[in-house]
């Protein structure tokens, strides 16, 4: 097999040149004829009864086309647990509750109209602490459930419990144990492009939604369900992605503003755009799910883990989006990061009058890994074993099946940990507690799809025209991860063309086959495999065409030559070499016989074959078109929360060296090593970008970022006050790529979108401990917390 021409190469992102010239069209830039601008009025209270809403002044404002309140639209419940309505008409349960909405001819008028709406509230007792909310006497956030049955508690009816082995025996068998309580807070995804969509109905009430979602078909499912309850049963929904300004989890659920845009468009019969401003993005977009973990672990004399026991409390906020499902992913590191035979994990989600949460890069894994990796360090210390050695003792290995029934295929964890050790000069630096310290943490994550819905499939269609252009209709979405480039590399490789011959269409449900969504670090793996399958089929069609056309073209060429040059002696050609499609191949736009790739006559351009073979004449013309729907043989989690939900798993380790200013508590990262098992680096430059970006977000998660919520209200809804890192906050990052080539992956690749973030914060926490001997168990690790802990230590 010759080397790959494109896979594994750092092909530039030329296919995305529109992004460097200002031509790329984001939702902000998209206008539809007659489009109106929607704006939302949010609650002024964390918990209150709405006594009255006066929209008369807003309605009278010139340029306003409609003003909607909960009274004006069907009272339909939406969301994961159907625990909220689109516009709230009786009770608001959090500050960001949507109370009214306006559509007007300009954003300024819409905003003014919003300011003219007067709402009278009667305050209700509120609860902001999940532990308080669990108590019997706590005020109830919801009085009834989705079916109208009375609720007696703020605890959500979700089944997040995982149990394996004999916990009692395991505790007895353990020589060393440790127990820690760790907590994480809300952080914002900080997409540079804010949330937005345009809803547009045609005359027959079919909806086109220009929307940034990265789960285009999931969106349709949820809106279809909504339609069936508002008198639009059977109507067609088309979701179209503009260029998306970042996702990081925000585009997984269908948010309330999207339903509001639909209602405004229905009412006005005009396209309506809702576009968040930055303040709204911080206040009204569900952030990462916070959690508090109490984690215990035990090991034997040699340091082999015997049990892990963890209980988590999640502040669910007032309603339920994907945040409440993050325990399904937390279970993965809880049960399967390192070998541990006896595991207990239980997560309780509790309603409060705080904001609610959703997905963010890593989906529960960063929170849970912070717990596990904190505990790994405290237990290692208890057992008197070097923390890196302790991790190596307990590392996952290829061929393992974990207690969650994950089947570990390729696994580069050992290499990753060793790389971190070496790059950090671990043995020399660890354990000094002299103001400088090193720490590490590992990760496991799905890297070959994630069967969280019945189908974990991904469909791709490809077609070729007579010029050799390849159109690829991708069912995934592009939110900046580089898929247009990577998929074009895969298609070029698999089909025998060049990346610049490949033209991709992402994110249009009217064109694309089904897909489970561009989430869970699954896109390169799933789309790559689908693309390889589709290319094989298309290639077969081309080669069948070549078998027909090549002899004709060659013979005609020889005749022409003979005509021009009577002296020319026709060679005696063995047409048997190109008589069967199996005997032919395509590479770099040329078709040739496999047995004699350099044959002087049997080497024809792909475009020539297509020109001759496609537009032939009556009854003989053809198209080249193929599809592949790749749905891997994985399992959904069963009622015990067990099952091999991914084809393969990503492993990695982060190591950090820090310097801590013991007078101020400030932490400086001197060195960050991110070692990742990626299967195969499809495009090394783009791969680095994924890891750099994820690790950097992880540093923010570890050190600076927090949404400050006080009595239910977001107090820092701006980039000025939300401490996302700038280019001046230098973090020297070195990436180590481990390539164990995964059999199931396209050319051996695994998913890599989320992993870089996951181990970063715990590695920092462990390094801070190694530097100054205080363990910060509550993210972010602020100078205030370090200084407080240092004072307590003294």
């Amino acid at each position: 097999m010759p080397d790959h021409l494109f896979v594994g190469k750092s092909v530039p992102r030329t296919i995305e040149a529109d992004k460097v010239t200002g031509k790329a069209v984001y939702i902000d830039d998209l206008k539809r004829p007659g489009m109106l601008y929607g704006k939302i009025l949010y609650s002024n209270h964390a918990h209150a009864r709405i006594k009255s809403i006066d929209i008369s002044k807003a309605k009278q404002l010139e340029g306003v086309r409609t003003v909607l309140t909960g009274q004006d639209i069907p009272d339909v419940r939406v969301g994961f647990l159907k625990d909220q309505t689109v516009l709230k008409k009786d009770v608001v349960r959090q500050y960001r509750d949507e109370v009214a909405a306006v559509a007007a001819i300009s954003p300024e008028i819409a905003e003014e109209a919003i300011s003219l709406i007067k709402v009278e509230y009667e305050k209700l007792p509120a609860v902001f602490d999940p532990f308080e909310a669990m108590k019997q006497e706590s005020p109830l956030v919801h009085e009834i459930d989705a079916r109208g049955r009375p609720l007696k508690s703020n605890i959500l009816p979700l089944p997040w419990k995982f149990e394996t082995g004999d916990m009692e025996q395991a505790r007895e068998d353990s020589v060393y144990t440790s127990k820690d309580t760790v907590s994480t807070t809300w952080v914002n995804q900080c997409c540079m492009g804010t949330s937005g969509c345009i809803a547009e109905f045609d005359q027959n009430s079919n909806l086109t939604l220009y929307d940034q979602t990265n789960v285009i078909f999931g969106h349709i499912g949820r809106i279809t369900e909504y339609f069936s309850q508002i008198g639009l049963r059977g109507k067609k929904i088309r979701v179209v992605n503009p260029v998306v300004g970042g996702s990081f989890g925000t585009k997984l659920d269908t948010d309330i503003y999207e339903f509001i845009a639909i209602q405004l468009a229905l009412k006005t019969k005009k396209p309506v755009r809702i576009l968040f401003d930055r303040e709204e993005e911080f206040q009204a977009l569900p952030p990462r799910q916070p959690a508090v973990f109490t984690i215990e672990q035990g090991c034997d004399k040699e340091g082999k883990l015997i049990f892990r026991h963890c209980e988590a409390i999640l502040d669910n906020g007032a309603y339920t989006s994907w945040g409440a499902t993050t325990p399904s992913v937390m279970m993965m590191p809880m049960s399967s990061l390192y070998r541990v035979p006896n595991v207990y994990f239980k997560a309780t989600c509790v309603y409060t009058n705080n904001i609610y949460a959703q997905a963010m890069r890593g989906y529960g894994n960063p929170q849970a890994t912070f717990a596990v990796e904190t505990s790994m360090d405290t237990l290692a210390e208890e057992a008197g074993i070097d923390p890196a050695e302790f991790r190596l003792i307990n590392r996952n290995r290829p061929g393992d099946q974990t207690p969650m029934k994950l089947k570990i295929t390729s696994c580069g964890l050992e290499e990753c940990i060793k790389a971190v050790k070496e790059k950090l000069n671990w043995d020399e630096k660890q354990g000094k507690q002299n103001g400088r310290g090193v720490g590490m943490a590992s990760l496991i994550h799905v890297a070959g799809g994630a069967r969280v819905t019945k189908s974990d499939g991904h469909g791709i269609m490809i077609k070729l025209d007579e010029y050799g252009h390849v159109d690829v209709i991708e069912s995934g979405t592009d939110q900046g991860q580089g898929s247009p480039t990577v998929i074009s590399q895969i298609v070029a490789e698999a089909l025998g063309v060049r990346p610049e011959d490949v033209f991709l269409t992402f994110g249009d449900t009217a064109l694309a086959l089904w897909d489970a969504g561009t989430h869970a670090s699954r896109h390169t793996f799933m789309a790559g495999n689908a693309a390889i399958g589709a290319c094989a089929k298309a290639k077969r069609q081309i080669l069948e065409m070549a078998v027909e056309q090549m002899p004709k073209i060659i013979k005609m060429g020889l005749k022409r030559k003979k005509r021009k040059d009577p002296e020319f002696v026709e060679p005696d050609l063995d047409f048997g070499l190109i008589a069967n499609p199996e005997d032919l191949d395509i590479r770099d736009r040329m078709i040739f016989p496999k047995k004699e790739p350099d044959h002087p006559y049997f080497n024809l351009p792909l475009a020539q074959i297509l020109q001759n073979g496609l537009l032939v004449g009556t009854g003989q013309s053809k198209v080249v078109m193929a599809e592949e729907f790749y749905d891997p043989p994985t399992e959904m989690l069963n009622w015990e929360m067990k099952g091999n939900l991914s084809m393969t798993y990503a492993f990695g380790a982060s190591g950090v060296e820090v310097e801590v200013d013991e007078q101020t508590g400030e932490v400086k990262i001197l060195n960050l090593i991110a070692a990742h098992d990626v299967g195969k680096a499809m495009n090394p430059t783009l791969l680095l970008g994924q890891i750099y970006g994820a690790a950097y977000t992880g540093v923010g998660y570890g050190l600076t970022e927090e949404i400050k919520v006080r009595n239910g209200r977001v107090m820092n809804p701006s980039f000025r006050d939300y401490q996302m890192l700038t280019a001046m906050d230098v973090v020297p990052i070195e990436v180590v790529i481990i390539e164990p080539i995964d059999e199931a992956g396209p050319y051996g690749a695994k998913g890599v979108g989320e992993p870089g973030l996951v181990p970063t914060a715990p590695a920092i926490a462990n390094a801070v401990y190694d530097a100054v001997g205080v363990r910060i168990t509550d993210l972010p690790i602020t100078p205030e917390k370090i200084l407080t802990a240092l004072k307590e230590k003294k």
């Binding site: 007078q663 101020t664 400050k708 006050d721 700038t726 200084l787």
Partner: protein, 292 residues
Amino acid sequence: MIDCDYLRPDNLEEALGLLKEHGPRATLIAGGTDVMAKIRNTKKTPEVLVSIRGLKDLKYIDKRSGYHIGALTTHRMLEQSELVKAELSALHDGASRVGSVQVRNVATLGGNICNAAPSADTAGPLLVLDALVFMEGPEGIRSVPITEFFTGTYKTVLKKDEVLTEIKIPGEMEHFGSAYWKHSRRKAMNLPILGIAVSLKLEGEIISDVRIALTVAAPTPVRANKAEDFLKGKALSDEALNEAGKIAASTECCSLRDSLRGEAWYRGEIIEVYVPRMARLAAERIAQRRSK
């Protein structure tokens, strides 16, 4: 912005005329970074905006019997001035830490102190550089020491019909070394949790004169007089500096409080640590200049 009159006078005289004409309806706008953000955040537009951004005459950094800095001098000009960097180092420190390059390219020194935020990054430096603030109004030109300029949070002695025209720093400051520390969680695009400015003069190892200023430590930027008094005449030692830091952090010098960006106790710790550190840096800078 909903609607307003946007007036762009060609010279100071015209500007003063417009301020007089429109009285309380008018708001002065210079670089616009504070005013425009405020309009956007509060969704309220002043009826009349009088822009002095075009008054080129108020953009200068001169050294002649003291340092003269035009009110419309941008932070970027201060950041890029070798003179300011070498001789008014604290001001250089402060100006280069405001917002971003984009902001510093337009935001003016006059605007920064007229806005009178307790967190203003140039206020502390100007306090330790003994700056004099010049204002021009219908009654002519007047000046006040910067210590008297701030009257409260977002409040100054500047009258509605006056324009701040110049900041003057006495030539004597040439003999001082100075430094400013902006304490914040990240390195750029921030408001300080706390600001500490120190300037001092050395005779041998003796601190012959010293100024210490704190921002976000009280409703206005303040001088820590008691800490200064303590240090004056003492040798530059860790012991003395640490004690000065303690005094500066005490209620004798500031009224720290908890806010979203930081807690009072932590602000106190930072003052204690960074007063000595900035004093050391100021002293180092004197030595550096001497060695050049």
